[in-house]
Symmetry: C2
Subunit: 299 residues, 2 copies
């Protein structure tokens, strides 16, 4: 039986606390003129967000009995990358958002220059964390984590997807185009979260297909759910501005498929994602619950 997403609440709270604690320790504010930079990074990474990506990393590491403390280091790295991308995407010349995770965005709470630098520094810190021997005793694993995260966040991944999104004003994407855009913009990083468990557990390449299938389907369903929230959600619950895509005239899964078909498609994708995990037992229950949660959440 597939576990209910309700059972996720304690896991989400626990991971949120664990990530906050570790960022707090990682980023003590120095007693010099770099203080503002550290405060901006802390504003972004501490206290907020669903911590979906860290949760996915921990859940995929659990499949292979990876030490929890090490799994959390990888989770910290992916969250640092995610937060850097949010800081930069929120800038006035990008999406121009004032609100993120229920707080002012970094350039609002600080200023644009500090926001750009805070994003850049979180970007570097993510790779510093991954390459550290404390993350994995095998340097092959550390180098592989770095490679995969760099590809997932660069022009063949998140960065390229964000560029496609910026071009959406001049380009009318069809469903294939939007799918590709989202696979790069958000899917690549979600795929890294699952791959990270396989790398940390030294799972042979030949056995990674089910996890990759899960990640691909989950990533798309997650994005469709985001588009639905943008149409139907409230700013109070999501902690960010809503109905921005429609206002910008951008094509989304919902604008192309309609609300009903989009919702049905997300459900099908989640069933598929869970089906990919059939060879795993109870150790994959967290991943199954996350999949359910991805389309049931209200924020």
């Amino acid at each position: 039986m597939v576990p209910s997403s309700l059972s996720l609440k304690p896991a989400i709270e626990a991971i949120g606390k664990a990530i906050d604690q570790r960022f707090d320790r990682l980023l003590p504010v120095p007693d010099d003129s770099r203080a503002r930079l550290y405060e901006a990074m802390r504003h972004s990474v501490i206290g907020g967000g669903k911590r979906m990506r860290p949760l996915l990393v921990v859940a995929s590491c659990d499949l292979f009995h990876v030490d929890r403390e090490r799994a959390l280091r990888v989770a910290l790295a992916i969250e640092a990358i995610h937060c850097y991308s949010l800081i930069h995407d929120d800038l006035p010349c990008m999406d121009d958002d004032d609100l993120r995770r229920g707080k002012p965005t970094v350039h609002k709470a600080f200023d644009e220059a500090t926001a750009i630098l805070a994003g850049d520094c979180l970007h570097a810190i993510a790779f510093e964390i991954l390459a550290d021997p404390a993350t994995h005793e095998d340097p092959f694993a550390r180098a592989e984590l770095v490679t995969e995260l760099a590809v997932a966040s660069g022009p063949a991944g998140m960065g390229g997807g964000q560029m496609m999104d910026l071009a959406a004003g001049d380009t009318s994407y069809d469903l294939a185009g939007i799918t590709r855009l989202q696979q790069l913009k958000t899917g690549a990083l979600i795929q890294f979260c699952l791959e990270a468990g396989a790398i940390m557990g030294r799972l042979p390449e030949s056995q990674r297909t089910p996890l990759r299938g899960y990640a691909r389907d989950l990533g798309l369903a997650f994005q469709i759910a985001d588009d639905l929230l943008d149409v139907e959600g409230s700013s109070a619950k999501t902690g960010k501005a809503v109905q921005k895509d429609a206002a910008a005239g951008k094509a989304t899964f919902v604008s192309l498929m309609g609300v009903e078909r989009a919702r049905a498609q997300a459900g099908i994708l989640i069933d598929q994602a869970i089906a990919h995990l059939s060879s795993y037992g109870q150790e994959a229950d967290l991943l199954r619950a996350i999949a359910r949660f991805a389309i049931e959440r209200d924020s």
Copy 2:
């Protein structure tokens, strides 16, 4: 006898060509809406600059007979980081520069959003290059390169130095403050260039002291020379705006020491840098010539 910096010209031309060719192969413009992102990256990294950091990487790799093609991969990574930092530093909310390496800055030639993304993607690409097995067969070396570059470019290095520089409007730095600022802002990356040779050559930690001494002294001398060029140079030769520091009322080595003392100090530092190389023979001649060039250049 210390070689003249004149002998550097062919080496600078050769490295410039090698770096251009490799970026051209690394960044083919894709036939989709990410094209603009790749064009912006290419605008930044191809055709321009002194390629000082790549030259330092190759020179330090030469000390340990590192395969030239592999050394050039590390050189490419450091140049990608350097270019990302130039793109972001040139933005309107940072230094607001229109001209770089004799060409319009990326946000001028493209737009701000594309410039931020191009910088972010070059940042990721640098780590992708370093972690690739083609860079070194030993994953220990690859992970160590990643660690050192991440630290050198993050808040304890370049990013932190840039924040100190941003704060210079509200903080009056004395000579110790400016030295610290520059050690972070430009020194850390120069130190990485030298460390990279030691890592690629698997030089034991205990034998790296002379190279680190060279890097530290060279980095400071290089920055003093930059400050002198900002006061005395021409925009036509440097390919960027000059006299910006004075206009912004920022303290520099020159404003704190005066032109004559600054020039003398740079000369002393270069003598020291070269003295650190005394245990090396002819194989360090390129490093010696670079040191001379650092304070004799007019751009």
